[in-house]
Amino acid sequence: MAGIADFLDSLIGGFDLMCFALAIGGLLWGLCVLRPWQPLSGIAPLLAKSTITLIYKGGFWLAAAQLFKIILKVWLMQTILATSPFPEFAGTTQFIGGIIRIALTLLLAGYAYRYLSRWPQSKEHWRNTGLLAVPMLVSGAWLVHAAGRFDSRVLLMSLTVLHQLAAAAWIGGVFMLINLWQLTHKKAVNAELWPLLLRRFARFGLLAVVGILLSGLPMAWHYINSWNGLIGTGYGNLLMVKVILLGLALGLAGLNHTAVRGFSITGDHYALGRRVPYYVETEALVLVILLFTAASLASQPPAIDIPNLTATWQEVLGTFTPQWPQTNSPSHSALLAGEAGRVAIVGQVPSLAATEWSNYNHNIAGIFITAMGVFAMFSYTRLAHSHRILAWSHYWPLGFVGLGVFLFFRSDAETWPLGPIGFWESTFNNGEVLQHRIATLLVLTLGIYELMARRSQNSDSKLPLMFPIFSAFGGLMLLTHSHIGFQAKSAFLIQVGHTTMGIFALILAGGRWLELKLDAPGKSIAGFISVAALFQIGFILMFYREPLY
């Protein structure tokens, strides 16, 4: 069961950060943006109550996530060490710090539930909740990356906590904006609150971003310390992904800001009601992915510690060099024959068949996706709307179904259904195989849902929204995908291609989401960006070459 334990252990980090953003970001939103205790603030009690509900729910979920983390650690150690981790584990910083944090989080959430929700406009209760959050925030310092380091430990722990706080302020605030929009849309709160709080949040969000940069830059310098470390290590690569996602989110925040400024000048509500909510939704999507990437970053060794395992920029660039796709696959028997040597610890023999098998899988998948991109682009033309046969190009997502079937048989061919290792054994004992199985199911489901959406006659159908959701999830998997059995530098060179595809998958998702929600001309621009991202994924896959070791 090591595969499942490993799988759950890694995902719980991102979930933990989401709950943290909801609880702490919601609290900061209440204290700094909403300020419901102010006379004549115009903040409806319903909005304040709804915010408090999100705060205590986030807190309770955070405590549960923290407890689950401890249980998973015990499970993982029991599985990997084949012995009970107690009593040693009970004396570790992770166990003691984790239990203290659970208690402090429960205290915070409990107070918000018991008192703040009863008196949502009481300044005293808001202040008390804020004070209760301080020890909880401080206790988190012993659970971060920096806690195990030898040099500048206290400084790095403090910077990490400040970084988390600033990120929670921004991301939690975006979650609160979505909540506000839902209430506004249902006419449960005064419509004037939407522009008012958007304006207040613009200033607050800017401060949060400054906080993220001021705390993040010294940490990046300490953990990376060279351009080569930034370009040539997994840690540097994931940090660059975070920076790119931050840029995307800031771009969307900039669009919001422009709309709010336009409203201030002209008094025209149009963009605030018809565009900003969807920019905020897309921004939230990007930020959630950013949180999961941040959680993944914490499990990478800092670049400064692995100078001998750092790739050069030429090696990194080489992974994207265009080359003719490999369209011939080695036989399945050749693949199986090389497996024993490939997975051996002593006397390992690299398997050329395994490398070529993987190249073929990736390159053919790239051809599938590039072809889908061509049909998708064509489906936007007038000809595709007027010609009966050419109108079939609208069904380009059918390619995902074909790709899913291809992956079902080809990925991890040493396991079920083609190989000797059974389904349960391979799926639940190997995190990488588990990821591939989920990815295969995802691709198939995505294709089927999108086909159903395109055949649906119901204009209010939610089915079209599945495509961006599944695509974002695919991006998330690519951003956090790991490769076992490779030397560290090779694993990184594989990671570079996958994280780049992950970013494009997220752009594909965000673009499609906006295409479905926005009006012209934003709709067309977003649609074009989305399909362009699909092409990029296809190209990266077509040129993929796996290292032999």
């Binding site: 060490l81 499990s299 002593v346 990821q435 959701i469 995908h481």
Partner: protein, 116 residues
């Protein structure tokens, strides 16, 4: 339905699976080779504090046969000393399963050869 789907998807994502946060920054295998028939001590330095009671090191010999080795603390934080029994000529590996103070379980393999 959409909200539930989104939460479900997030919950099934992210299999980072990299037990690699703590890494070996120095090992004595390169500077002090192991000789045939002589027990030895190997020193490994990590970039992070290590919980010794929750860590294991195996000697892996030909055919991937595993033997659990005794480990103890080194002189500095993050250092461990591994006791290696007398070995015959051949290729070997040390397989590490190490719990770092930041909560990450690290697996690593260090290859070495024993020559006359």
């Amino acid at each position: 339905m959409l909200r539930h789907l989104l939460i479900g998807l997030l919950l099934s994502a992210c299999t980072q699976g990299v037990y690699a946060h703590a890494v070996v920054t120095e090992d004595s295998l390169t500077s002090t080779p192991i000789h045939v028939g002589q027990p030895a001590h190997v020193q490994l330095s990590f970039n992070s504090k290590i919980e010794l009671g929750l860590s294991q090191v195996f000697l892996v010999s030909k055919g991937d046969k595993h033997q659990l080795l005794a480990i103890g603390p080194g002189l500095k934080q993050g250092q461990i000393i591994i006791t290696i029994p007398a070995l015959t000529t051949g290729d070997y590996a040390l397989r590490l399963k190490v719990f770092a103070a930041d909560g990450h379980l690290t697996e690593d393999i260090r290859h070495f050869s024993v020559s006359p």
